[in-house]
């Protein structure tokens, strides 16, 4: 097997939860599907709109569909081996625990700061030692070098931690894509910790 095949084969055993399927969640899920993650549990309550297409991994002919259903289709067109469980719901504390307790890693991909806080507090107080990878600060354009990654125990933080979305500072494909892929990269680092290639 080639090394990418070995990696894909190894990743089949793992399940990743993705909380939110907007700019962060859709792009992160696709990156993980491409490298061969075994199972994805995706959750979102929203539908695809035309305004989402400047950054989220959906297509024009998917406008009006539930994001979780459109994303499941897109993932399976890329890699049909990925098992996708799609949940059309707005997550609360008990949902996070129920949906994601079987995951090896959880990716926080919400839009709203309140929801980010909810999932961080839930995972840190009720689900330890589950790793949680969050995306914080990615609005605007340029400033590539202030985007970073750090961790505090099992909390992994990706983003620039300062750029909040506003009327003057929209979220656009390049920077949200950078943070989403950085989250996927953190997930890989966690999951591939004990991976040893054979030759």
């Amino acid at each position: 097997m080639t090394l990418p095949e070995q990696i894909s084969n190894y990743l089949k055993q793992f399940t990743v939860g993705i909380a939110g399927c907007g700019g962060l969640g859709s792009n992160c899920a696709v990156a993980l599907a491409r490298v061969g993650i075994g199972r994805l549990i995706i959750a979102d309550f929203d539908i695809v709109t035309e305004q989402n297409l400047n950054r989220q991994y959906y297509f024009h002919d998917q406008i009006g569909r539930l994001k979780v259903h459109a994303l499941r289709d897109n993932i399976q067109r890329i890699n049909p081996d990925v098992v996708v469980k799609a949940f059309d719901m707005k997550l609360c504390v008990s949902d996070v625990i129920e949906l994601f307790s079987g995951c090896n890693v959880i990716v926080e991909a919400f839009d709203k700061a309140e929801m980010k806080q909810m999932i961080i507090e839930t995972v840190l107080t009720k689900m330890q030692p589950k790793p949680l990878v969050v995306g914080v600060g990615m609005a605007g354009w340029g400033k590539s070098t202030i985007i970073g990654a750090r961790n505090s125990g099992n909390l992994f933080i990706c983003g620039d931690e300062v750029s909040e979305v506003s009327d003057e500072l929209p979220v656009l494909a390049p920077r949200v894509g950078m943070v989403a892929n950085m989250q996927a990269n953190e997930v890989l680092e966690i999951l591939l910790k004990d991976f040893r290639p054979s030759n």
């Binding site: 939110g20 907007g22 700019g23 962060l24 969640g25 991909a109 919400f110 839009d111 709203k112 700061a113 309140e114 980010k116 806080q117 961080i120 507090e121 840190l124 107080t125 969050v134 995306g135 914080v136 600060g137 990615m138 609005a139 750090r150 505090s152 125990g153 909390l155 933080i157 983003g159 931690e161 300062v162 750029s163 909040e164 979305v165 979220v171 949200v176 943070v179």
Partner: protein, 67 residues
């Protein structure tokens, strides 16, 4: 006291601060944030009672809308 704040060494004049005092001193002004001290999450309702003292490892994360 000497603490670690977001992976950096910090010298503070006070011997001890509550979480809210530390946030004020270090200018963490966002409404939504998460604080961990020595790996443990500090709940918001405890920000006036929980303290930071010499040698503590503190993480403060601003939560920013967007994603």
């Amino acid at each position: 006291m000497e603490i670690i704040l977001n992976n950096r060494n910090e010298s503070l004049e006070a011997d001890q601060l509550t979480i809210n005092e530390l946030l004020a001193v270090k200018n963490f002004t966002f409404k939504m944030l998460v604080v961990k001290v020595n790996g443990e999450l500090v709940r918001r309702r405890d920000f006036d009672s929980a303290t930071v003292k010499d040698g503590d490892d503190v993480m403060v994360l601003h939560l920013i809308t967007g994603g």
